[in-house]
Symmetry: C2
Subunit: 406 residues, 2 copies
């Protein structure tokens, strides 16, 4: 490992002090179970726990119910005729059906590989796409700034001889092969980006499409890339289930990803697989058995309305104070919703005005914890806040932002 790598790894450990950041602040959440608010506690909007969709699922609670008996789902194996031998056939079918309904990604003639969240699949994809360990250099993994901070965190922590964090894709100028991660739409800033590396050397692409769903962003086309990652957490809000899936073009890449998941966790919990299949089925039933449900009660419409309402409130609050600015997203036609709309990202990417140098610190004084721009490779004038927490958290955010003064 290079000295630089070691320094990075040390830096990560110091910053995180080896303790999950989500716990430290969350433990002192200002909102208790009854919605009671304590103004002196910090409101943690660092992570994106997607509880916003909970009220939809409360309505659908019985319909989505799964019942698992004592003798069911016992084997390691699920479908040994499939490359992804630990995947339940019902989950494969549900994933394909959901993409067929939403038309956000091509699944035909591709392989589906599931993982314990996209987190595991991201590493599996890097593992599968990097050259074998016989080469002397680890491959550079790059992503355009502002990049999703957890890509870098994972690579810094799991430093390997196969791959290493290579920084901003827009700045990549090495004459070496690389892997570029394209987060589409982008986290933290919600923009639509294409691959950025301009190199004469051929690179490989991983598309993280966690937010390419019609409650967050217009579905303008069916994505059709070599490796596409999706996660239940951001699609339906069931983060506790730890279900991610990859749609993979090349069978050899799919096999290597399966090998990675096998060697790191011998597959994926079947209880959550069966539940994910059920939930996806209920969403699809809504669209395919249209007569039985009011249009505004369909999953993506219902959730888009919640997000739209939140974004409107947030923008009004931001505009009123003039302390922060937030980008305006262009309207685009959504093939799924048959209407044009502006993106409604899961996070807001705030930029503070002249005179304030550190957006994260500024919010800290308002007892709002966000994730500072530096973590995303951007400057300290930016900060990211979750827009997908509970209603109580969002209401408290708007209240606290009203104390911002310039």
């Amino acid at each position: 490992m290079s000295t630089k790598q070691k320094q990075r790894a040390r830096g990560f450990f110091q910053e995180h002090t080896l303790y999950p950041s989500m716990v430290v602040a969350k433990a002192a959440s200002p909102i208790n179970k009854n919605g009671f608010t304590s103004p002196s506690s910090t409101l943690n909007l660092d992570k994106g726990d997607p509880l916003v969709f909970g009220k939809y699922w409360k309505k659908k609670s019985e319909e989505c119910m799964v019942v698992i008996k004592g003798c069911e789902l016992m084997s390691y194996l699920s479908d040994t005729s499939n490359v992804c031998w630990y995947m339940l056939p019902e989950l494969k079918d549900a994933i394909e059906r959901l993409h067929h309904v939403v038309r956000n990604a091509v699944t035909k003639d591709k392989y589906i590989v599931i993982g314990t969240g996209t987190t595991q699949l991201f590493m599996a994809a890097l593992f599968a796409l990097s050259p074998s360990m016989t080469t002397s250099h680890p491959i550079n993994v790059v992503s355009a700034t502002p990049y999703y901070s957890e890509y870098k965190d994972q690579l810094d922590l799991f430093c390997s001889e196969r791959f290493q964090w290579g920084g901003d894709a827009g700045e990549y100028d090495k004459n070496e092969t690389y892997i570029e991660v394209v987060n589409y739409p982008n986290n933290p800033d919600g923009t639509i980006k294409e691959p950025m590396v301009k190199s004469i050397v051929e690179g490989k692409l991983v598309h993280d499409l966690a937010y390419y769903w019609p409650h967050y962003t217009p579905i303008t086309h069916q994505a059709n890339h070599d490796v596409m990652l999706f996660t239940l957490s951001k699609c339906t809000g069931h983060a506790g289930s730890r279900i991610g899936w990859a749609i993979v073009k090349d069978i050899e890449v799919a096999k290597k990803m399966v090998m990675f998941v096998q060697m790191s966790s011998i597959g994926v919990a079947k209880e959550s697989q069966t539940r994910a299949a059920k939930i996806m089925g209920v969403i699809c039933d809504g669209y395919q058995k249209f007569e039985s449900i009011e249009p505004d009660q369909l999953f993506f419409e219902y959730c888009k309305n919640i997000l739209r309402e939140r974004w409107e409130k947030l923008r009004r609050s931001i505009e009123l104070r003039k302390v922060f600015t937030v980008a305006k997203y262009p309207k685009a036609y959504c093939n799924f919703a048959n209407e044009s709309f502006e993106a409604l990202p899961a996070f807001v990417w705030l930029k503070c005005e002249e005179g304030i140098e550190n957006a994260e610190n500024y919010l800290g004084k308002l007892k709002i914890r966000g994730r500072g721009g530096v973590r995303f490779g951007a400057g300290s004038k930016h900060v990211r806040l979750s827009m997908i927490g509970t209603d109580d958290e969002f209401t408290e955010l708007i209240k606290r932002l009203s104390n911002a003064k310039y």
Copy 2:
């Protein structure tokens, strides 16, 4: 990475041809769902899919039933006041209760960390116990021969600058700190082993107690080590749930393990956590509400009887043919069962007689697929076979072994 490490990694890939070994043979399983047997297909007893306990859980199917509604278990977080913030409190309680009932491990004043199977926790433990990446050498991870082959496989595949496979613990003679993995009772050979490294340098220990349960082996004492690993797969047979747990003495080690699980999968599927808690609860209820159940219908007694019957049949078959030998385990007093018995391991470790050089190949001719001794750091005269498959598989094993001729 050293040339040796690279060669090992290459070797692993070649051997596995990047495809899960369990699939290749399992796809051609000689036993279909209806128990129909095709003599020309290979019987795969390489892996230990623990379906043997399925018939117990069939009896308890309703009692163990879990019902999960659409709006439940959505958050990433479970209990932010616990070091292991993604662990459901009900699972923590169930794990402690189970160890309290069986008295096989001390949980008092320790930390419980759960993972997606022990597979993930094994890597988490190595990560937590290895020095930070600022040192120049990766730490050696050793285990006494015959060692559990998957330790080595994992380390060869996930070669890192933090740790590397260091071979047989009994041969370790470097003047460098190390981590010794003690598999107790040992997989593949079912023996009871103590730490083997004799070094003036202080090492760290990981105890893998996957099989330290009273259906497999006499519970002679309450294990009380720094890091102890357990898995639902081998305890109850629910391998599909991917639930493992570690009992950890030092809070700093526990925190690092949690960090590893956070960064590699953001926790563990909650559906399987809730089900694991339910299943453990049903086992404990049997022992603690003793009047409601016949003694031979208690989980560990019922399963021990199945394993005892299988071992008797297997030993008779082996003794009759004189092609293989299998070790005799010493009787020991089990504090849990209040009786002495010989170990009834989940795998049989066969040794072939003089004149046969390769036990794995010999079995291959009988259309039985085992895992050869070389994978465990032992010679080719040994082979490991699963004893915990379905009844049909076991019956077929005995039938095929009857064709062995010397």
